[in-house]
């Protein structure tokens, strides 16, 4: 009997704890804090969460040498991963988090992000003017962009035999390309080709449009070699795939191994994705966090992104300083800001995000 009672007590304790943790996670402050521009940064510490291999290895040391802020870099693997960490408790211990634009928007709406103190981020002026007016966060209230790009078709002309121009080249491949194409399967990118080919918005929440997209995607599924979000470029290099849906930066990894590989943004248009830096409302080191964002927006620092991971950056000064030979080798780096702005920014859809979650589950689970 006592054992049973103890189990019940322990279970009740655990449940109470779960309630307590979940109920105090929504404590975002509305009042804009005034930050001290003359704060002694060497007394502050910083924990930055970023995707692995997405920043210079010695970033923490360099930033510390410049500002005196003791900095720790931690990694997350996906947006979902870091968002789960940030929403799981009131204070995640993270000061600066790198997330994609639509997630910055969602976190901002939840009150989890601190409004940026632009007085402490003078390097914002290095950004393209367009990078201050992005749909997920106009005016960069909660986030500063770090890298951006688009999604398109990455292909090997010698295997396709022609230059694709449309999402339909992927959705309804020529008979000789059946079993030689791959698609992205995460988040919002799975539905994108079908939505764009039908002339719809990638941010649509219309049930009929989504149902039509699902039907098309199920038809396409039987023509695919695989769904692949991580190794699609190596499938191109090995010749297993002839054409893959790819983020522009990742297509470059294929081009690095086989310069004949090409990238095209389909004529129906594509998305504009932005990876951003955000400061957590729960951070106790906001001056240091703002200083970190400012440091990253320094043209010399952000050039690293373009030179090493071959992604475009929204930093005008950094892009103009790029070696032209690099852009010649990797034409996707030469996609202009105007061309990027023609694409549709992915925005957070609130509760309707779940429609995409269900769509993905249904497409991936159906045979």
């Amino acid at each position: 009997m006592t054992t049973t009672r103890r189990i019940v007590a322990a279970a009740a304790g655990t449940i109470a704890l779960a309630f307590a943790v979940s109920s105090c996670s929504s404590g975002g402050g509305d009042a804009v804090e005034t930050l001290d521009p003359n704060a002694d940064l060497s007394e502050q510490t910083l924990t930055v969460s970023i995707w692995a291999d997405y920043s210079p290895e010695d970033l923490a040391e360099k930033f510390e040498a410049e500002t005196g802020v003791k900095t720790t870099i931690v990694n997350h693997t996906t947006n979902e991963d870091i968002v789960a960490k940030l929403t799981a408790s009131a204070d995640s211990g993270i000061d600066v988090a790198f997330v994609s634009g639509q997630y910055a928007q969602a976190l901002g709406e939840q009150g989890l992000l601190a409004e940026l103190d632009k007085g402490l981020i003078p390097n914002e002026e290095n950004l393209y003017p367009e990078a201050l007016e992005l749909a997920y966060d106009p005016g960069n209230v909660y986030s500063e962009p770090y890298a951006w790009g688009t999604t398109g078709l990455c292909y090997r002309p010698d295997l396709t035999g022609y230059d694709p121009t449309s999402w339909n080249d992927l959705l309804n491949p020529k008979p000789e390309l059946v079993g030689k194409t791959t698609m992205l399967s995460t988040d919002r990118w799975l539905a994108e080709p079908a939505l764009k080919a039908a002339g719809n918005s990638i941010n649509t929440t219309d049930d009929d449009e989504l149902a039509a997209a699902k039907e098309q995607l199920l038809k396409t599924k039987s023509t695919l070699l695989a769904y692949d979000d991580t190794t699609f470029y190596s499938k191109l290099v090995s010749g297993e795939a002839a054409m893959v849906q790819a983020w522009d930066g990742w297509c470059n990894y294929g081009i690095a191994e086989d310069p004949s590989i090409k990238f095209v943004v389909p004529e129906e248009g594509s998305d504009l994705w932005v990876d951003t830096m955000t400061v957590l409302e729960s951070s106790k080191n906001k001056e240091a966090a703002m200083a970190f964002l400012n440091y990253i927006l320094d043209p010399e620092v952000q050039t690293w992104v373009a030179e090493n991971i071959l992604y475009k950056v929204p930093n005008k000064a950094a892009m103009e300083a790029l070696d032209p030979a690099l852009i010649e080798s990797y034409p996707t780096l030469g996609i202009t800001v105007d061309e990027l702005m023609e694409q549709e920014a992915i925005v957070d859809l609130g509760e309707d995000t779940l429609k995409y979650v269900d769509l993905n589950a249904e497409v991936l689970a159906t045979n």
């Binding site: 054992t3 189990i7 322990a10 279970a11 655990t14 449940i15 779960a18 309630f19 979940s22 996670s25 996906t78 979902e80 991963d81 968002v83 789960a84 929403t87 799981a88 969602a106 976190l107 939840q110 079993g179 791959t182 399967s185 995460t186 988040d187 599924k221 695919l224 070699l225 695989a226 769904y227 692949d228 090995s238 010749g239 297993e240 609130g350 509760e351 995000t353 979650v357 993905n360 589950a361 249904e362 991936l364 689970a365 159906t366 045979n367």
Partner: protein, 298 residues
């Protein structure tokens, strides 16, 4: 409970027998409660609530997660997983039995060598072995090169990213788990039983069929469980070798937590998987007990 098994036992003895095991059972029970009952209980608890927009749990009571399990989509994935894991188990038994039988018949020295060879792949990281299969099975891979080199086929056969490739991957991964318990049970067999059968005039085949085979069934059943349980919940192989086109319950659970951020439904799927596997294990134990107890009584 004990008194029902031994109705003739005196009352005092029953009491002593009832209390005596407590100190010995306590460590195991505490372990089970901490690492099994509590986590599974929490999992079960979560299945009755709603998902938050960013993951997590919203404490509004609902049966929706259990209702969702009945949707044809999910029933289909669960059935498909059972079929795939079942095929893998059957193939592992067909391949593993002769292997275990042969190993049991080796001299002690070679037996050690053979057993190390069976276990050796486990010393390499699971992911590396999976990627090795991708290199073997792809269109430009070794298997296709050999097939074409030997003139068996003209063009490369598409083997990777198919359900068959998933079966091959899972079979490779879990075959040792079939061989080892089978070997253990075959090795424990009293050789004199087989000799007796032979002395009484049985052919080697008949001696195998009437003596060795029935006595090795408990080992085979254990092997089947060892293969079926992890095969059912694996999600890496369907993803990497199956190309993400054929998904299993393991993938569903993983996707609910990491992609869909639907923790309550992920918990429901995980709990269902646990329940299914517990049922399989209970059935296996019952069958196994009947088999081992049966012949002795008769």
């Amino acid at each position: 409970m004990t008194s029902t098994n031994h109705p003739a036992a005196p009352a005092a003895r029953t009491v002593r027998r009832g209390l005596a095991p407590v100190p010995f059972l306590a460590p195991g029970m505490i372990y089970l409660i901490l690492f099994m009952a509590l986590p599974v209980g929490l999992l079960a608890f979560y299945t009755f609530f709603k998902r938050g927009r960013f993951g997590g749990i919203v404490f509004e009571f609902t049966f929706d997660n259990w209702a969702k399990l009945l949707e044809p989509l999910y029933v289909g994935v669960i059935l498909q997983s059972i079929v795939l894991a079942g095929i893998v188990t059957l193939l592992a038994l067909l391949i593993g039995y002769p292997m275990a039988y042969a190993i049991a018949g080796l001299s002690p020295k070679w037996r050690t060598v053979a057993l190390i060879a069976v276990v050796l792949p486990f010393w390499t990281n699971f992911l590396i072995r999976t990627y090795a299969w991708i290199l073997l099975l792809n269109n430009a891979g070794w298997v296709n090169q050999w097939l074409q080199g030997l003139g068996i086929t003209d063009a490369p056969i598409s083997m990777l990213y198919t359900p068959q490739a998933i079966v091959v991957g899972l079979l490779y991964m879990y075959l040792p788990l079939m061989v080892l318990p089978l070997y253990a049970s075959l090795q424990q067999l009293d050789p004199s039983l087989r000799e007796a059968a032979t002395n009484l005039g049985a052919t080697p085949w008949r001696a195998f069929r009437t003596v060795t085979l029935p006595l090795s069934i408990p080992g085979a059943l254990t092997g089947c469980i060892f293969v079926f349980v992890p095969a059912m919940s694996n999600f890496v192989i369907p993803e990497l070798i199956g190309g993400g086109k054929t998904i299993m319950v393991g993938n569903l659970v993983r996707d609910q937590f990491f992609e869909a951020r639907d923790w309550p439904f992920g918990a429901t799927l995980a709990l269902l998987l646990t329940i299914l596997l517990v049922i399989v294990i209970v059935v296996q134990t019952a069958v196994s007990r009947r088999l081992t107890e049966g012949p002795r009584r008769g």
